[in-house]
Amino acid sequence: MILRSHLTDEALVDLMRGGDEEAFISLYRRRQPDIHRYVLGMSNSRMMTEDVTQEVFVNLIHHADRFDPARGSVRSFLYGIARNCLLQHFERERPYVPYDGDIAENESSALRKAWRPDLTNPLAQLTTAELLDDLRQAVLTLPLKYREAVVLCDLQEMDYVDAAAVMRCPVGTVRSRLHRGRELLVQKLKSSVAAKDREVRKRACC
């Protein structure tokens, strides 16, 4: 009996090409979280995330023969499929993600009251749940090429080489896009923090 959990992704793809269903399921369980997180990070839509995740693995079932180990890892191959599916979805739906920098009044009021901006480092409080939501929204408003770099390199913790394989561009381009995306995020979050600061001060005055 083969312990599939110990096999490499490439070995699992080989087995599933031969019709081994359990090998496919093992690969799915191993790689689904990555794909799910990537698509969710790019779209922030649970429905789209599930659609694209399903499409990615159905695509793998139908086109496992297209995987060439010489051209990259299984992980990169799956990300490549996910990216194509995502771009098709974006093209079809052209989603509009609103972002006004303000948090809705009814959300996280306790956190809001407790929150005090640190003026020396306005982004220091970003890890609170409330501001994480801001960050998520900020990521979604990034232009696609910068968002992709941030999601792959920061949220997925992928190295530049793998990210370049997924994004089909040189490593230097990934690096510059990531830097630019981060700069944009810092700007957006700073303005968000400043807006919150003004609001808190206004309330304090009243």
């Binding site: 599933m16 019709g19 269903e21 496919f24 399921i25 799915y28 369980r29 689904q32 979280p33 799910h36 997180r37 969710l40 990070g41 649970r46 599930e50 995740t53 399903q54 693995f57 159905v58 079932i61 139908h62 020396t120 480092n121 306005p122 982004l123 220091a124 970003l126 890890t127 501001l131 994480l132 960050l135 998520r136 990521v139 941030v150 920061d154 949220l155 997925q156 913790e157 190295d159 530049y160 690096r175 990531l178 830097h179 981060r182 995020l185 810092v186 979050l189 700073k190």
Partner: protein
């Protein structure tokens, strides 16, 4: 190090592959001394921490377990389709191989499709004695089946094929003036020709057909010698 240089690597501080150790140390020295870069660095560190926290939040959101049965069903369906396609392909391959074998067998068995070999035929008096040309009966050839030897069958495959359908009557070979009549033997290739009755004297046959029969097409076998001259003739009907 200047601020601009520091800006170019500030995002790669936390990445092992981003900048080498020496550059990192230089940048760090600059950050300690430059308030602007220190604030910038602090912001980026906060952002990285927040992005990591966001990634962890998203980790807890994986909820695609219900996709597994759907994917299993798709996999099984695909597997069945592949098996069907494979068996169809193997059937097609077997059929093609069988038809190729059949056609190869047919070609090698059927004499008309086989290679035509014409070895030179030596006609000896014992086999085909030359008759006297003065006794030749051209209009009414002798009603006798053609003497079929294995050599004849090989040299005249079309005649052999024809003889399966219709019976052929031939006369004996009559020597022509070009043959050496002294030893009554001729050697050469047998060639079947069609010629007008009026053309017989042209090849040295001592009789000519006159009147309506002069234009009649006559089928005859000629024995052509090595020098290309007709040595003997027989009439075919």
């Amino acid at each position: 190090m200047e601020c601009r240089e520091c800006d170019s690597i500030i995002h790669d501080f936390m990445r092992a592959q981003g900048a080498d150790e020496e550059l990192r140390t230089k940048a760090f020295d600059h950050i300690i001394r430059c308030a602007r870069c220190e604030a910038r660095f602090s912001n980026i560190r906060s952002l990285e921490k927040a992005l990591r926290a966001l990634a962890e939040t998203m980790d807890s959101e994986r909820s695609a377990a219900h996709l597994e049965p759907v994917l299993r069903a798709v996999f099984q369906q695909q597997k069945r389709a592949r098996l069907r396609a494979r068996s169809f392909a193997s059937r097609v391959a077997i059929g093609m191989a069988a038809s190729m074998l059949l056609s190869i067998g047919l070609v090698s068995w059927h004499p008309t499709f086989g290679p035509v070999r014409k070895p030179p035929i030596v006609v000896t008096p014992g086999q085909l004695p030359l008759a006297d040309a003065s006794n030749a009966q051209i209009p009414e050839p002798v009603a006798a089946p053609a003497p079929e030897t294995p050599r004849h069958r090989k040299s005249r495959p079309r005649v052999a094929a024809q003889s399966r359908n219709t019976e052929e009557f031939v006369t004996a070979f009559y020597p022509l003036p070009y043959a050496e009549s002294s030893n009554h033997t001729v050697s050469g290739e047998i060639v079947r020709v069609k010629l007008r009755g009026s053309a017989l004297p042209g090849i040295g046959f001592p009789m000519a057909l006159n009147g309506e029969r002069a234009s009649e097409q006559i089928t005859a076998d000629l024995i052509i010698g090595e020098n290309g001259l007709p040595l003997a003739i027989r009439f075919v009907r």
